[in-house]
Amino acid sequence: MRTDGPAAGRDRFVAAFQWMLLARTFEDKIAALYRAGKIVGGVYLGRGQEAFSAALGMQLSQENGDVFAGLIRDQAGRMAFGEPILDSARTYLGSVEGPMRGRDGNIHRGRPLRGMPAMISHLGAMVSVVNGMLVAKRFRGRTDVVGGAAIGDGGTSTGAFHEGLNQAAVEKLPLVIAVADNQFAYSTPTSHQYACEDLSDRAAGYGIRGYRIDGTDLETCLETFAEAIERARRGEGPQMVVGKLLRLAGHGEHDDARYIPDELKAKPHGGDCLLLAREQLLTKSWMSEDQLAALTAETQDKVEEAVARAQSEPDPNPFRESWHALATKHLAEGTPAAD
């Protein structure tokens, strides 16, 4: 819900910036731990996508029952939506106290009952899951609940994405699909991914509203998602927001992304949304250098604290595991005899 007036605009911007900074700081920490060999498995960063991600996550309302289905580069959006920093830290560090209890790791986390479905790796697969969550809400008379789902440029090539988006359109569900076109899918440039001019050209084909924005400009992201969420909530059906930006990291931290030419960083949509937002804060005098320094320090502390806590927690113990995959315990088969 937008409250207009300059103060509201400032507050929203500052709040978003704080989530962006928290996400960036947290991910820098995780990347450092990864380099130090303290993280098992992959580490995938949202560097460069924080504005786009946070603008959606922040403007959805967990209290209202909204849904936010983040993918691998949505640290900012997840936090802004309401994922506790401890959930992230614990999952990356494999703590048994985390929401995935060491069974799943890194970005494969969630709390489905609090509007945060836990992504599976298969790209595109979460779109229809969010649809289903919205269908369930509608069955219970809630049509004012919005679901946000993230996807990348690469993910739009999946059949699951298409089926999911079309399904949402046919059912006129309050889905906001956020396409972060960061110009690459792993090493693959968009020229090998799609042949339209802009992915927002797809909206008409689903009969839904499309938006095409600079995903590095926080204010634009905030405004656009505010409108998209409002329209979805009002019953106007799915909204597709395509943000152009650039992945400012490797696909994962194992990848030096040599294949991304430096020129791209100088081109429009190639900038660092966090630096841009920081500049704007200063230009508009919404925050001073001192305030920013204090915020940075405070954010760093929050991250260190969460990571330290997660690191101190126990790893999962295989002898305490139930080793059954069913909720209906009595129907679970024993492990084979020889085992």
């Binding site: 799943d104 709390r111 229809s128 899951v129 289903g132 069955f139």
Partner: protein, 321 residues
């Protein structure tokens, strides 16, 4: 009034819709049209908001049912044919099957698969996929062989907190009849002795139970008493009941309509060989379809799948081993 296997499936859904407002049906042509096999006929009249036509999007159909299930709904998904679940495969095995284990939040969906061969259906409208789904942790796979079980197990499937793959056999839809719907049914997870015997045990499920029973009647004419075990669910398998039967008979033939490599029959034979080796008086045997796609032409199809004739002959061999 005789009730068919198909009626039972419809009635179970009607009752579930009636008893629990979290239940809904989602699938292609399930609403007004009542489904390709009429398994949902009339239900959309009674529950107009809870029987919903889907686009031709098996992945999204199952994905959205999963999403709704996470939120506490109890969706019943009808695949038009079991064979088309191959499109929803990823959502079934990677999303639905892993959900409870990963998140602790149950995913109570029921996926109805019109399964098995019929004359002239060919390679893409005849498949039995219980062995594929049973391979995956986190799924329950039901394979009812009787009108009673079609009804009772489907009701149970909908109530269970886990994803259930419900394999209904198309060949049984119209021809299998009962006098009335059952009041009580055997719990899921328990096999049933469909015919008692002492010379050999034939384990089967779904339509193959009826082929096995007919083979048993045939052999009875020569004085052989064949015990037929109706598995009822492919996962879990009621190993205890099978072992108890083999303890009585000393001989095992496992029969299934699915492809020969690594499916239900190999699972049964290997369990009995591992856990009941000393009960066996003869090598345990298996019978499956042939290792080719399922043929269209009835001449070929009848030979491709196990029938009472091939079961009878395999059982005779077994008895003489």
């Amino acid at each position: 009034m005789a009730i068919t296997y198909l009626d039972a499936i419809r009635e179970a859904q009607a009752r579930a819709l009636e008893e629990d407002e979290n239940v809904y049906i989602y699938g292609q042509d399930v609403a007004n049209f009542g489904g390709a096999f009429k398994a949902t006929k009339g239900l959309s009249d009674r529950f107009p908001d809870r029987v919903i036509d889907a686009p031709i999007s098996e992945d999204a159909i199952i994905g959205s049912a999963i999403g709704a299930a996470i939120e506490g709904m109890r969706p019943i998904v009808e695949m038009q044919f079991a064979d088309f679940s191959s499109i929803g495969f990823n959502q079934i095995i990677n999303q639905a099957a892993t959900h409870f284990w990963r998140t602790g939040v149950p995913c109570p969906i029921t996926i109805r698969l019109p399964s098995g061969g019929t004359e002239g259906s060919g390679p893409f409208h005849s498949q039995s996929m219980e062995s594929i789904y049973a391979h995956y942790p986190g799924l329950i796979v039901m394979t009812p062989a009787t009108v009673e079980d079609a009804y009772g197990m489907l009701l149970e499937a909908i109530r269970i907190d886990d994803p259930v793959i419900f394999c209904e056999h198309k060949l049984l839809y119209y021809h299998l009849k009962a006098e009335e719907l059952p009041k009580v049914i055997l719990p899921v997870g328990k096999a049933r002795i469909a015919r008692a015997g002492r010379h050999a045990t034939v384990v089967a499920c779904s339509a193959m139970v009826h082929e096995a029973l007919r083979a048993a009647r045939e052999l009875a004419e020569d004085g052989w008493e064949i015990e037929v075990v109706d598995l009822r669910s492919a996962k879990p398998i009621d190993t205890d009941t099978i072992l108890a039967s083999v303890a009585r008979t000393g001989r095992l033939l496992a029969v299934a309509e699915s492809f020969p490599w690594g499916g239900l029959t190999s699972e049964i034979v290997s369990r009995v060989a591992s856990e009941g080796f000393h009960l066996l008086d003869a090598p345990p045997q298996r019978l499956n379809s042939k290792d080719t796609p399922i043929p269209y032409h009835p001449n070929l199809w009848r030979v491709h799948r196990p029938t009472w004739q091939s079961i009878a002959s395999a059982t005779r061999n077994l008895i003489q081993l």
